[in-house]
Symmetry: C2
Subunit: 148 residues, 2 copies
DNA sequence: TGGTAAAAATGGATGATATTGATAAGAAGA
DNA sequence: TCTTCTTATCAATATCATCCATTTTTACCA
């Protein structure tokens, strides 16, 4: 991955719908050259996905919360993973160091839907401790890793 | 925003580089109609951004950490925000309820770069307490909010 | 250093895709 | 019912992406 690839990635992070012809003129490389590099970046897995970032308030997801939880023993990891994958309002799930085992980021409609989700979480077998923190405001929320 | 708009958004979340002609045939609506709806969704701010999600391991960002911090009084919010905006390894910064004032999600190169960033964070005026949690593994990491 | 093979870039032609403008269909309100 | 606004379609044009043959560049090794 050289400087040209980094320029392509940086541009696609800013705007994933940028055309190859625009990339071509900005980077001063022919369109087929850009196109081939892009295909390789996609095939190699450097680019995981192209996605549209939506405004949460405008699609009726007004509440963000962070939930931490612990299990009585580590054997419940697989079933918990299946649960988490099926809950579309759980946006992040990390296995972490510290007092808790997992951290979750939840983006949901309102306190009612949060309450229901928390109930489902606490019903998972092996969950012995949870802590919920409500996000009051988002200072920054950058997608993914960035190329310098 | 009707069902057709939701279909467009859902598809763009899956793949932000999907062409209008593909959307047109999938949704059974003419290309100009899709194009116009898309422009409106962009102009209204429902679509905040199109971005490429990169593989952190393949762009040399191997370490994720969650940092919590408190201020001695609320007056330092503005300067802290400026600081956070300038630190590209800080991916999320939320003002939160609970024992701490802010939560940060950091994606960085290694323990050395994390240490340096933590030092800079603790140097911010008014910071009286921090806690750092290292992410061991990511179970799920979904971008943004989703349309059902 | 010079020669060779592999990789990457270019240019022009072709095919696909997007936009424009004119027009028609459908819904809401007087 | 008529008007008006919105949203759709169609056809033409313009733009864009891909393909393929050729050239240039890079990397490697004698």
């Amino acid at each position: 991955m050289d400087d040209i690839d980094k320029k392509i990635l940086k541009r696609l992070q800013e705007n994933a719908r940028v055309t190859i012809s625009v990339l071509s003129s900005e980077i001063s490389l022919s369109m087929p050259a850009i196109s081939e590099r892009l295909k390789k970046l996609e095939a190699s897995g450097v680019i995981k996905q192209y996605t549209a970032i939506l405004n949460p308030e405008l699609v009726d997801k007004q509440l963000m919360a962070l939930v931490y939880l612990s299990f009585d023993n580590p054997s419940h990891g697989d079933s918990f993973k299946n649960f988490v994958v099926g809950e579309s309002d759980i946006k992040e799930c990390f296995y972490i160091t510290g007092d808790f085992d997992y951290s979750l980021k939840i983006i949901t409609q309102n306190t009612t839907t949060l309450e229901n989700l928390l109930t489902r979480i606490k019903e998972q077998t092996g969950v012995i401790k949870t802590q919920t923190i409500v996000v009051l405001s988002s200072i920054i929320d950058r997608p993914s890793v960035t190329i310098e």
